[in-house]
Amino acid sequence: MKVKITLEPGQTLTDAEEILEKASKLKKECSDTERYHDEPLNEFHDYVCSRNKSILDNLMEEIEAELKTNAHK
């Protein structure tokens, strides 16, 4: 892909880099840090995701214990 940037008089390559960086940010999909407008929905979202994280943490510990206990058997 080729990108052409036309600089105004007085603008430098550093300005071009900033323009590119700004443009690349605009291309991103909504980031993980984005929030809902209504705070209760953010709370619910965070609650469920943290439940999943907690479940995963416990699950991986249990799997690790299973592997250590029963490997080679």
Binding site: K28, E29, L56, N58, L67, K73
Partner: protein
């Protein structure tokens, strides 16, 4: 064999049990299969379907009308328990609720399947690696073999962290998509009800989407929902409904829609009754 079939089956069961509790907590008893129920009968589970109903109520009542911003998630959970079975909803609301629950159930089922698949792949990889190593050097001492087994086991355990990270990211993304669809479907129900009460055609309701117009806003939501002055773009509900969904479509075919615009989208549908009154 480093990890036996029996051990793999036990790991599968650990995954099932872990996510059974999440399903119970979020979806309630009704979404659990009869086989799963037998495993948890002694737990006397509390249905959390009410939690989703509570969310529905939050969406239907704007914060200034009934929600206290100082409430904590625990207050919400407590209120959900109280609301269980007490919130009067019509057929449309039940449909939205059931669809939300089904979609969330899919997220949980897919997460379980994803974990099992990734774990099995790593275990098979470790078993194969050990077999190859031992086959190449048949004359190794027992002590050397044990060291090799321990090396493979250590690598396998180290891989668990990577699996956890991927699963967490995938879950967060899938859950955000389900939640945004649920929020916007429920908002559409509210707009429809308000329009009917005020004697207007629901399809002509004027709507917009609230976006977080910062550097992280994606180009699609910026293009669809924010005008050149940074103000929200207004649509009729009919326009958004006619665009259906962007699910499964290439980006070039995406349109402004009622539900999520793309995975992880958190833009909320809003009603603009003041604009409707102005337009007459």
């Amino acid at each position: 064999m480093l990890i036996s079939k029996a051990s793999m089956d036990r790991i599968d069961q650990l995954v099932e049990d872990a996510y059974l509790m999440l399903a119970l907590n979020l979806l309630g008893y009704s979404m659990i299969s009869s086989e799963q129920r037998e495993r948890i009968d002694e737990l006397r589970p509390i249905t959390r379907t009410a939690l989703w109903l509570l969310l529905y109520r939050i969406i239907r009542l704007r914060p200034e009308e009934g929600y206290h911003r100082t409430d904590t998630i625990q207050n919400l959970l407590d209120e959900a328990e109280r609301l269980s079975g007490n919130l009067i909803v019509n057929d449309t609301h039940i449909h939205t609720l059931e669809h939300g629950l089904q979609a969330m159930n899919e997220v949980i089922e897919n997460t379980k399947a994803d974990i099992k698949k990734r774990l099995r792949a790593k275990i098979l990889e470790a078993n194969r690696s050990l077999r190859q190593e031992l086959a190449v050097q048949r004359m190794r001492s027992l002590d050397q073999k044990r060291k090799q087994e321990q090396k493979e086991l250590t690598a396998l355990i180290a891989a668990l962290a990577g699996i956890k990270e991927v699963i967490q990211t995938n879950f967060d993304s899938a859950f955000t998509s389900v939640l945004t669809d649920y929020i916007n479907d429920a908002t559409m129900d509210r707009i429809t009800a308000q329009s009917v009460i005020s004697g207007r055609n629901p399809e002509d309701a004027v709507v917009f989407k609230t976006v977080k117009n910062d550097g992280n806003l994606c180009q699609w939501c910026r293009k669809f929902y924010v005008d050149a002055d940074g103000e929200p773009v207004l649509f009729s509900l009919k326009q958004l409904q006619a665009n259906g969904t962007n699910d499964g479509k290439p980006k070039s075919q995406w349109k402004p829609v009622v539900g999520k615009t793309h995975p992880k989208c958190r833009c909320q549908l809003r009603h603009a009754p003041a604009v409707e009154r102005f337009l007459g």
